[in-house]
């Protein structure tokens, strides 16, 4: 077991180093003069150019620059945004709660509907109900979510006027950010209507971001359940005369969920990629929209820092999923992976 953990960490270190190199290389791979890009000044004199070159540290050898960057990471220094001049790390963590809140809601939404749809489809295997559920799941899986978001806006915001079009909360509410989660903060503020405003802003983005994970989870749950339902211990439980609900809910589902957990863990990357599109459509002030804006504004330190931090998050979540998997799956636990 310990060996498995060590091995898993051992793999992580070179990957982390590689990610730092990749994000470091990013800004240097950009076509054109990095000084001109970073300074954003036109018609530089050679003297000013040299001065800026020195200021940004581009005159030093590459390995020295990398070392600086690498050590900076451990001191929480990812450079400053070219646009706001604020540290990239601060920018990232001011916006991150918005993405986290949206992603958590989306994954909860996806799990709630995905797992139940998968279980029902597996139990009713081969019926029209199963087929239509899985057909719907495949449509969800094939969905261009940026278009899906626009459709929902047309229907619920444009035609029915049920939900707002963009943002996290109506502008009339103002309260201090305690947790960064609008749902919690709006409750804490005690202002009337703030919570429902936050909730109504959250619904459409949650559906849009959760659609693909929902479809993936439903499909995975169904096939895992089908496999488990054919096992001997399920037959035994049935033969003992346990009520079907108990056999499915307790005996089968618990074991079927092991591969599903891995699938859910793998959805984190999907969620973060989806957040780029979802946040852009709904003007959701999170890191996805911030990354897109940074790319368009050519705010390269932000892009570089954002890439590194997002990759770190994905790596950490994957690690946690692997460790959890090791905990719940005795095969890995005993053989040492």
């Amino acid at each position: 077991m310990l060996f498995y953990y060590f091995k898993r960490f051992g793999v992580l270190i070179p990957t982390f180093l590689g990610v730092t190199v990749a994000s470091f290389a990013f800004i240097r791979l950009l076509p054109g003069d990095p000084v001109l890009l970073m300074a954003g000044e036109r018609g530089l004199t050679p003297e000013r150019h040299a001065e800026l070159l020195k200021q940004f540290g581009f005159d030093r050898p590459l390995w020295e620059q990398y070392l600086d960057y690498f050590l900076g990471i451990f001191q929480g220094d990812l450079g400053n945004s070219l646009v706001t001049k604020k540290p990239v790390l601060d920018e990232f963590f001011t916006l991150f709660p918005a993405t986290l809140e949206l992603s958590l809601c989306a994954i909860i939404f996806a799990m709630a509907f995905g797992i139940s749809a998968g279980v029902v489809a597996a139990v009713k295997r081969g019926t029209w109900f199963d087929q239509s559920l899985m057909g719907t799941a495949l449509i969800g899986y094939s969905m261009p979510i940026f278009w899906w978001g626009l459709l929902l806006i047309i229907l619920f915001s444009g035609t029915l006027h049920w939900t707002p079009v963009s943002g996290r909360i109506s502008l009339i509410y103002f309260f201090p950010q305690v947790t960064g989660f609008m749902l919690i903060d709006s409750l804490l503020s005690g202002q009337k209507g703030a919570f429902s405003s936050a909730l109504s802003h959250l619904i459409l983005p949650t559906i849009v971001l959760g659609t693909i994970p929902l479809a993936v989870i439903a499909r995975q749950t169904r096939s895992a359940m089908l496999e488990v339902l054919g096992e001997d211990y399920v037959r035994t439980a049935r033969a003992k005369g346990l009520p079907p609900r108990r056999v499915v809910g307790l005996h089968a589902l618990r074991n079927a969920l092991i591969p599903v957990i891995t699938t859910i863990g793998l959805q984190v990357g999907v969620l973060l990629a989806g957040a780029i599109l979802t946040e852009t459509i709904f003007s959701w002030p999170g890191i996805g929209k911030w990354m897109v804006d940074s790319i368009f504004r050519r705010d390269y330190p932000s892009v570089q820092g954002g890439l590194l931090l997002i990759a770190l998050i994905v790596m950490i979540v994957n690690l946690i999923v692997d460790l959890l998997y090791g905990l719940v799956n005795p095969k890995i636990r005993h053989t040492g992976g």
Binding site: T15, P144, A273
Partner: protein, 304 residues
Amino acid sequence: MTDTVAAAPEIDTRKTGRLALLSEFWAYFSENRGAVIGLWFFAFICLIAIFAGLIAPYSATEQFRDALLVPPVWQEGGSWNFVLGTDPVGRDMLSRLIYGSRYSLFVGIIVVSLALVVGITVGLFAGFMGGMIDAIIMRIMDIILSFPSLLLALALVAILGPSLINAMIAIAIVQQPHYVRLTRAAVLTERSKDYVTAARVAGVRPIRLMFHTILPNCLAPLIVQAALSFSTAILDAAALGFLGMGAQPPTPEWGTMLAEAREFILRAWWVVTLPGIAILLTVLAINLMGDGLRDALDPKLRRS
């Protein structure tokens, strides 16, 4: 499956073997009704793409200044001149959608071929060499996989410059680690089998051993993955187009069309809805086919 092989022992196994394999594959594939529908629809889109010049009523970029935002024919104000209506600058939606199919299929084909060729070569190499080279290659793949695919593609396009070609290159780079991993895993299980050892002992050179002896036996998961990444490539290219980082206007790429139409969503539903439906149906058809391929090629699932 084992029955047929056992029942026909020493009669010209080679030719009938292949034909039998193919017909067996088709038998499994056609069992899945969705897969067959997907295949027909995909063939239909391919035909549209090939004969776009003949089918489309107008060119994709021709502007009718007196017919801006004309609704589709079944809606009030629509006309038979523009069956699916026109966009904000008076271009015929139907023609643009028809020409757009070319871009989506093109993206899918190029991305999958690029990712497949590079991924298989690197994966074979890693699995076959083992040791240090394998470890380094796999760590590089881990690094690529640590970035959410769309974000990495977006950043790569920022480096390369926004265009459809660069978007395809970026998406191919993002996708090839999956092929590397699959190929390597398959090679590792095949490498120690007797037929490989036999070939090696018989003096088969490494390159031939890799591509001719081992590779054909690793193809099933790769084909399934290729179908899967064909649809992902179309979605990602459309997403990049939507974000303004893929094909550039006035290219009638479906994602780019959506991006151009965004500000009109509350006034003219058709400019937003139709390109999305085109993307959805194409991707859905490919995914249906992919499911059928998986069922037909994966013996593990076949038994269940």
